[in-house]
Structure formats: C-alpha cells, structure tokens
Amino acid sequence: TDTIKVGILHSLSGTMAISETSLKDVALMTIEEINADGGVLGKKLEPVVVDPASNWPLFAEKARQLLAQDKVSVVFGAWTSVSRKSALPVFKELNGLLFYPVQYEGEELEKNVFYTGAAPNQQAIPAVEYLMSEDGGGAKRFVLLGTDYVYPRTTNKILRAFLHSKGVKDSDIEEIYTPFGHSDYQTIVANIKKFSTGGRTAVISTINGDSNVPFYKELGNAGLKATDVPVVAFSVGEEELRGVDAKPLVGHLAAWNYFQSIKNPVNTAFIDKWKAYAKAKNLPNASTVVTNDPMEATYIGIHMWKQAVEQAKTTDVDKVIEAMGGQTFTAPDGFTIQMDATNHHLHKPVYIGEINADGQFDVVWKTKGPIRAQPWSPYIAGNENKQGL
C-alpha cells in the first residue's frame, strides 16, 4: 500500500468529548502537516478516526478494530486512565503501539505504550511543593478533591505519602471524591470553607471533565477566593476554561508541562498553525480555539513517532519502539525534549500557572528545564526496584 494508516482513538461523543475532540483535531492537523512535508518513508499518513464514545469497554473494542481490522501502524488516543487501562490488554495482545498524551498517575510501564503526558513527579509533586512554598501561600492543610477513579486515587495516594514526608499530618489532609459528572458542589465547598478555618488551606483538584465548571462556579459564588484558599488543578487547562467565566477564578492555579501563554517561537508557530487549521476546517467556535498541554503532547507524540519510523525505516512496532528511545523534539513548551531511553516517558518541563481573566495562565513558577519522569513513584512502597522496562 502507498499509505500508512494511523489510528485516532478519542471520544467524540459522551462526557469526555469535551476534552478529547480537540485532541482528535490536533492529531489530524499534525498528520496533515506531516503529509504536506512529504509524509513518512515517502508514504502519506492516512488517519483512521473512530469514536469510542466515552465508553471504556468501547475503547478496547475500537482498539481491536483499529489494530486487527484496519491494521493501523500506531494509535494516538485515550484521555482518562480508565480508558487507557481498558484498551491496554488489546495493545499487548496484538502488539500494537499507543501514544497516550495525557498526564496520568504513573504506576504503569508498558512496552506498547509511549506516555507523552506527565507522570506525577512532572506535575503533581511540583505543584504541591509550590503550594507549600512561601510564594504559593505556605499551605499547611490540604483538601485532595477528585473524581473517583484511578488517576485521582493514585495521584492522591502519592501526594499523601509526599505530604507525610513533609511532615503534614493526616488530620490536615482531607480526601474527597465525587463521581464523574457530579454537579452540585455546595456541600463540598462549604466543607472546604470549614476545613480552612483550621489553618492555611489549599485545594488540590483532580476533578476531571464536566464537574469542573460547577465546582468553580460554586467556589466563586461562595466567596472563596484564590487568595484565601487557592485551588491547584491537574486536569483544568485552557480548553476547559473556555467553558467558564474565568473572572471569579483569577489566581487559582494549574500545573502542566505546557501553557498556551508560554512565549517562544515554536509555540507561536504551533498556536498559529492550530488557529489556521481550525479556521480552514471550520471547526465549531474556530475563532476562540486554544491550545493546551494534551494537545501539545499529541503533537509531540506524532512527530516523535514519525522520527522513529524514519530512523527505523519501517513501521514495524518492535523496531519503532526500539527507535523511539532517545528521540528528541523541539517542543512548543520551549525546550528540546527527549523520549527517555528506558521508560517510554518524555522528559518535560513543569509550569505552574495562575488563571487570568482571559482564561489563560500566567506562569508563576517553572522548572529550569525538562525533568525525567518517575512512572514508579518513590512515594509508593515497593516501587524502589522498578525502573525501566
């Protein structure tokens, strides 16, 4: 054949469509960009888009379809950890290749997966360190608020261990979980308020998807300001903020490896390309499109895969995996970042940003450069010996 098939496995309907549709679009844009550049190994890339509809078992089924039926060379996709976990066995069984672009909880390392989002030490831990710092407000008490699934649970488990190591007592940590799609945060916000009467408090939010808007609205209306009780979120980016009136949120924080507001030529080009693409494809609300971290991670992932294929001179999965280690790419985040030679994760810089009135982030803290991922968090017992694959 004269094309190379590439699978795109993102929910275009259901609750996760909010976050995942733009990843599909970015992937298509990147593929178009690569094709315009002559493709890969002289062949054009042919995207195969499927809709797993925010239904975890469907992720497995669609993954199987992409690999067994459409015979794609690689799949870019999944957002929630649970969807990744459900598709994983299929990738292992059929020896497929998945690029996963979202920050996640770690505790996983699969030969068939490349993780282009952050591991906990590339996002969660630095964010908490910041909150505890003088600049971050010197938080002494922590509300760990999340959606009840594997990513928040595991992340909070790591954070709790981390906080313990910093001398924070269990009585100063409150862990609250709500189901996906939870929309009434009155009681929880009242609880946070009450909890904060016990001392300088910060909220660490791993709320995912739809629940963020009602949470922030409630927070704003209840008068809990960022100067009193700052919230740092790990799943709220520019895309999510498009759906919120950002004014009451000013000062609340998010930690990512990329913000649209980062100023560098690569990023400017990336943003422009995306805006032009949205306009050209007539995407809904094309005039207000934004970029965010998982979009950047998708973009990096596709390019790195292309590089690896060209280096391996084949799309054969094992050879590509082999070639992926050590790939570098000049990313919009301002650094030339590298795929770790052993652990399938990117070395990434960490940024902490405050929400501003435009729904963008002002960077208030950042690492000096990319840091290496620790998929096996040192704060979880028994992980000491696990490192590479």
Binding site: L12, S13, V48, V49, V50, D51, P52, A53, N55, W56, P57, L58, A60, E61, K62, R64, Q65, L67, A68, Q69, S81, V82, K85, S86, L88, P89, V90, E93, E107, E108, D148, Y149, V150, R153, T154, K157, Y177, P179, F180, G382
Partner: protein, 377 residues
C-alpha cells in the same frame, strides 16, 4: 358442536402446542450452524485469504450474541409480562462481575504490582481480599454466583416491588433507581470492585490463555450455544400456559386475580428467570470483551437494551435477538464510518423505526412473509 369448529380448534391447538414450527426449526438450525462456522474462517484461513474473518469481527459477533441474550431476557419481562425494566443492566453487570472476579483472580501475580491481589486493591492499600471475594478463585463457585447474584437480587427486589403492586412507570423508575444506585456504588473505589476501571487485563480462563484465538473461538461457541438454549427456553416459557398468563398479566393484572391467579408468583418467576438469563449473558460477555465496569449499569446501557428490543420487535423472541444485532452492528459501523455523525444516523433510525415499523424489524419481516409468519415465532 359442528365438525368445522372441532377442526379449527384442533388445528389451532396443535399449532400452539409445538415449540417451533418445522420451518422455524430449520431456520434456527441453519442460523446456528452458519454462526458456528464463522470462527473457523478466522482460525483456519490465512490472514490474507478473501474469506478470512478478523478476530475483531469474531469478538464483535460474540459480544452481539451476549447483547442478544440480554435483549431476549428483557423481552421476556417487557414484551410478554409488560414489566418494563429500565435497569436490566444491573443483572448483566452482576453476572459479568461475578465471572470477572474469577478472571481477576486467575491473573495471579501477573499484574503490575505482582501481588496476589488485583492491582486496584494494591493501590487502595488493601492487604487481603474482602470477604465477598472468598472462593471466587474457584470457577464453579464463580459460575454459581453468576446465576445466584442476579437471581437473588431480582428475587428480593421483585418480591417487594410486586408485592406492593408497583406497576408501570413506577416500576420502571425504581428499577432505574436501583441500577443507578448500584452503578454509583460500583463506581466507588472503596466498594472493592475496581471502581470506574472495573476489571480488566485478564490473562487466563480455566488455565487457557484468554487471548489465544482458539480460546476465543470456544468462548464464541459457548455463547452461541447459550443463546440458542436461551431462545428455546424462552420460547418454551412463552408457548406454555404460563406464557399466556404472563400476557394476560400485562393486559389486565387485576382481572387475572379474580380468576384465581396470583400475579406475584408469575411476575417473580419471569423476572428472576430474566435476570438470571441476563446475568449469564453478562458472564459470557466479560471474557470476550475483556473488561467489565460500572458503565454497564448506566442508565444509557439499560435504555439501549430496551431499544434493541423495541427495534427488533417487542413481544417476539427473534425480534430482540435481531434488534440487538442490528442496532449494535449499525452503531459499530457508524462509529467508524461516520465518527462525527453517527449519532444523527442512529437517532434517525430510532425515529424512523418507531414511525414506520411499529412492530420492529420482525414486523417488517412479517409483512414480507405475511402468510405463514403469524405463529412461527
């Protein structure tokens, strides 16, 4: 008594007392044999052979057959006894979870954390299996649970609901409430069933590699056999006098009381049978799909089951089977062929079906084969 009367009576009675007409038997057998041959096309033929069927297609068909069984179960209560359950997903899921527990334990120490516990228990810092996981490492016990858990739940729930004479939408809504509550419960990680993730990443079933093509084929055939049995069993029920009591129940429950039938027992019987059938379908589904999670208990899933039945033809048995196949087939096809527009297509099909096919697909088929069809299924 005229002789013509006797002839028609006997004629009708004769037809009524046979499980299937000879024609229907033939059709059923041919369908089963054809379906049974498909995995061979996957196993025997080389990948590039034009008749080769991908493992994906086989897995898909296997899944559809499980759905078909669930639809059949739902139709038994809805189509025949008029009990509309908007929460049948719970029985499907419980059957699935019961089998899933066994499959999880068969992973042994091959999980990420190499613990004797499933990974999700490890990240919750659990040291031991909770009591309700006891013995689930025995296949036979797990199979017992597959039948018992949905059965007992249905029995208890049904007993109280039917005893209080809860009917119509009130019943539908409380089934929905029950399933929704169960879904929330199972979504909680603390409940001990893997939360949102549910169970996945199975490795073995009865010692065989669960991903091996021949294991898959065997699972497929098992499902086919169970579906066939379920169809015959459901047919036997609906053809019996009990079947007629059920339809009478659907049409006028109070009248039935006055001629001496106690609706409670009949409803409970068919409701529990349906739940068990649904549970078995769920149990067959899990190893083939490779994951069971609480989304099977979501409102949408249960409503979709109702839609399979309605699309296929409520109150017929082959209808729900066809409905489950056709709706899911279209959904699968649309989600890949028209990933951004499939909801339009599917939605439109539902609307058009109701408007133009009031008796579903079976009604349509009957219109084509009008003459003999009335009593075949």
């Amino acid at each position: 008594m005229t002789s013509s009367t006797l002839v028609t009576t006997r004629d009708h009675l004769f037809r009524r007392q046979h499980l299937f007409s000879p024609r229907a038997w033939t059709g059923l057998l041919i369908a089963i044999v054809l379906l049974a041959l498909l995995p061979l096309l996957n196993l025997v033929l080389p990948v590039d052979h034009p008749l080769h069927i991908s493992s994906y297609a086989i897995a898909l068909l296997g899944k559809f057959m499980c759905y078909a069984m669930a639809a059949l179960a739902l139709d038994l209560v809805w189509g025949y006894a008029g009990i509309l359950s908007l929460g049948h997903g719970i029985f499907f899921a419980l059957g699935g979870y019961a089998h899933g527990m066994y499959l999880m334990r068969s992973i042994g120490r091959d999980g990420v954390y190499q613990s004797h516990l499933p990974d999700f228990m490890v990240f919750l810092d659990w040291r031991e299996y909770p009591w309700y996981w006891t013995f689930t490492d025995h296949f036979a016990y797990a199979m017992l649970l597959v039948v018992l858990v949905p059965g007992v739940l249905a029995f208890i729930f049904g007993y109280f609901a039917f005893r209080s004479r809860i009917k119509g939408v009130y019943f539908s809504i409380i089934t929905q409430a029950m399933t929704f509550a169960a879904m929330l419960l199972f979504f909680r990680n603390d409940t001990g069933f893997g939360g949102n993730n549910g169970f996945t990443d199975f490795k073995r079933i009865l010692g065989f590699d669960i991903t091996a093509p021949d294991t898959r084929a065997v699972l497929y055939w098992t499902t086919l056999i169970f579906l066939g049995l379920a169809l015959v069993f459901a047919r036997a029920i609906t053809q019996s006098k009990l079947g007629r009591v059920l339809t009478a129940l659907r049409d006028s429950e109070s009248r039935l009381r006055f001629i001496g039938y106690d609706p409670l027992g009949f409803k409970l019987f068919v409701w529990t049978v349906s739940a068990i059938m649904c549970g078995i379908a769920g149990a067959l589904y899990v190893p083939q799909v490779g994951i069971i999670n609480p989304s099977e208990m979501s409102t949408e899933t249960s409503i979709e089951m109702v839609i399979w039945v309605a699309t296929g033809g409520r109150g017929t048995l082959i209808g729900p089977v066809l409905g489950a196949g056709v709706v899911n087939g279209l959904k699968t096809w649309f989600t890949s062929a028209l990933p951004e527009f499939w909801l339009y297509a599917l939605g439109l099909i539902f609307v058009l079906t109701t408007l133009f096919l009031p008796h579903g697909i079976v009604g349509l088929l009957r219109r084509f084969t009008a003459r003999n069809a009335r009593r075949t299924f």
